[in-house]
């Protein structure tokens, strides 16, 4: 440890410690946000062949948890009546088929492709109806009133998903996911089906027109610029204040150390 003690006594050791602390804080803050993967809903024409193929897929990938007839088991809920929208949401976000049961099934790289998703949805829809996959125009953010959407989002969604859709924590390991990767179709499907801990917003309570407004708000918020520089995860004044205090005061401490450190000067009689 001798080298460390020697290093510690160097004049620049203090600056190095402060800089290292700031760097660590910075790295912790740097949140990576990879680009959105697109998963568009396929058209809704259903044939008997699709249902048969969907049944085969179901037997293969889903029946071990959801039961041979989708009636549900102790580990997984019944799928009768959940509808094509629910299947499309769960499968296109990669949540289903699930890897392992836990507090919450996370979004991941999707396992079944568009065609297989459509067939599986056709099979589940044939069991007991339920909400269908919305049409492309129904979820087009360009036709939504984002001001109204913002109002509804702040009253009913922001408490869990944050005002900018950054997500947030719930109880017992559950969480409201960030909305940055959700496609317009997936946002609609989530509202109408209420996946996992999320409550349901049916079409008679929040109309399809209002849902489109909410989709417009969520997608527009993503492209909003951050006039102050970094959005700091857009989680609000706590993060902003923390960064201001740590970085700002850190720089002040360094400046104060430099100003007050005494510079050796040669004396006259030396």
């Amino acid at each position: 440890m001798k080298w460390f003690t020697a290093w510690r006594r160097r004049p620049w050791a203090g600056y190095a410690v402060v800089l290292a602390a700031l760097a660590i804080i910075g790295v912790v803050y740097a949140g990576a946000s990879p680009g959105a993967d697109r998963a568009q809903a396929s058209d809704t024409k259903v044939s008997a062949q699709d249902v048969a193929k969907g049944k085969a897929l179901f037997d293969q990938t889903c029946s071990s948890c959801h039961g041979a007839n989708a009636q549900g088991t102790r580990t997984a809920p019944s799928l009768i009546g959940v509808g094509a929208a629910s299947v499309d949401f769960q499968v296109s976000t990669g949540r289903m088929p699930a890897m392992n049961p836990g507090a919450q099934i996370p979004r991941k790289k999707r396992i079944l492709n568009d065609e297989q998703t459509r067939q599986l949805a056709a099979y589940i829809a044939s069991l007991g109806g339920g909400p269908p996959v919305p049409a492309a125009d129904q979820v087009d953010p360009a036709h939504g009133d984002s001001a109204l959407g913002g109002k509804l989002f702040r009253a009913n969604c922001a408490q869990c998903h944050n005002f900018a859709g950054s997500g947030g924590a719930l109880t017992g390991g559950k969480y409201a996911p960030p909305l940055d990767k959700a496609t317009p179709t997936q946002i609609y499907e989530a509202m109408i089906t209420g996946p996992q801990a999320m409550p349901v917003f049916n079409d008679t309570t929040v109309t399809p027109e209002q849902k489109r407004a909410i989709i417009a708000y969520v997608t527009q918020t993503r492209s909003e610029v951050n006039p102050g520089g970094s959005g700091l995860g857009r989680i609000g004044p706590v993060a902003e204040g923390l960064a201001g205090w740590l970085v700002g005061i850190g720089l002040m401490v360094i400046a104060a150390m430099w100003l007050t450190a005494r510079k050796p000067k040669k004396k006259h009689n030396d």
Binding site: G14, T171, V200, T204, T205, P227, M257, W258, K267
Partner: protein, 353 residues
């Protein structure tokens, strides 16, 4: 009355040890002296400069002053030629960057240049000013004491008890006057905290759109929506107390409290959205557990069991709004809340059981 002006104890040098150095401060060894007071008097400048090093420091400081000048010109150019900040909120980011960076460089260049100047080029000798004792001299104290006793004797304060006591009596109410001012913190809020805009027959309308809800519209299990009293959709004062969380719960799992049998409509149930702890919007609803969470301090309420507190600092359940259905099938309140909504206040009293 002894004055001890000598510094007590031994100096570190006497004890033969050097105090521990704090990280970031310069080493005590070498050419520098922290206390030049015990040096031989020289008069005039205390230090001479190494001319080579001084010239280098001068150039560095000058470079920073030049940087400050260039940044100052850049600020004017950015402002006048390439503003970006006028009329478009999205372009304000650009002007924040350009003007902010320029202003930072102006001030930083000046500050760094001046600091280098002071640290490397100034040759003023350091002087030490001795601190003198804070207490008065014994003579001054004795004179003061004498004056005080003479004054007491001459005015008769010591002998004339009646005068002394009535004087104190006169001063006593003066000391109590600030307490009277506390009265002006009122008036008390009267009934305002106990009542909301809800009354029998008020329809529940969706917050944000103002559309009334039929029980048959709000029919999906696991639904939630924020509703406000009809007629107060745009009245923020009323919404601040009257915001309600409407839930659709499985009616067979509902634990209905005695006396509240008619407060829900087939599992559709309404709770105040305002947390009973400090008044945040408690609106995080988990469909799977039927828990309502408050985002501020994690108070957790059981929606199935009259919003009983399961966890967290909230002291009381969320107040429940009795609801029913009118002749056209719309959801209505059947009365106001039966207890004050929101956080506790002084004269709230105990909750009715």
């Amino acid at each position: 009355m002894t004055d001890n002006n000598e510094t007590s104890g031994a100096t570190p040098e006497d004890e033969g040890r050097v105090p521990k150095r704090v990280i970031g401060t310069p080493s005590p060894v070498g050419t520098q002296e922290l206390l030049p007071g015990d040096e031989p008097e020289q008069g005039g400048t205390g230090y001479v400069l190494d001319e080579k090093k001084a010239r280098r420091a001068e150039r560095v400081a000058a470079a920073f002053f030049t940087l400050s000048f260039v940044a100052g010109i850049a600020f004017i150019v950015f402002y006048a030629v390439w503003p970006g900040h006028v009329g478009n909120i999205n372009r304000a980011a650009r002007s924040n960057y350009t003007l902010g960076t320029a202003m930072t460089l102006i001030l930083l260049g000046l500050a760094v240049g001046l600091t280098i100047w002071v640290r490397h080029l100034v040759t003023t000798k350091e002087i030490v000013q001795e601190r003198h004792s804070i207490s008065s001299t014994p003579e001054d104290r004795a004179v003061f004491n004498q004056y005080l006793q003479e004054g007491s004797r001459e005015s008769g304060l010591g002998q004339r008890r009646l005068l002394r006591r009535t004087l104190l009596l006169a001063a006593a109410p003066l000391g109590l006057l600030p307490l009277v001012l506390l009265r002006d913190l009122g008036p008390l809020p009267e009934k305002k905290l106990r009542h909301t805009a809800w009354k029998n027959g008020t329809r529940l309308v969706v917050d944000g759109t103002g559309q009334p809800l039929k029980a048959s519209d709000f029919n999906s299990p696991g639904s939630i929506i924020t509703v406000v009293p009809e007629g107060a959709e745009d009245n923020l004062d009323e919404i601040a107390t009257g915001a309600v969380l409407l839930l659709n719960l499985p009616v067979d799992q509902l634990k209905v409290k005695k006396g509240r049998e008619n407060w829900h409509v087939g599992g559709i149930i309404a709770y105040s959205k305002i947390c009973t702890h400090v008044g945040c919007p408690a609106a995080l609803f988990e469909q799977t557990t039927h828990h309502i969470l408050c985002p501020c301090h994690q108070s957790t309420f059981d929606a199935l069991d009259s919003a009983k507190v399961l966890f967290g600092p909230a002291a009381r359940p969320l107040p429940q709004l009795p609801i029913g259905v009118d002749s056209q099938g719309y959801l209505i309140a059947t009365s106001d809340f039966h207890e004050p909504v929101g956080p506790s206040f002084w004269e709230r009293g105990r909750p009715k059981v």
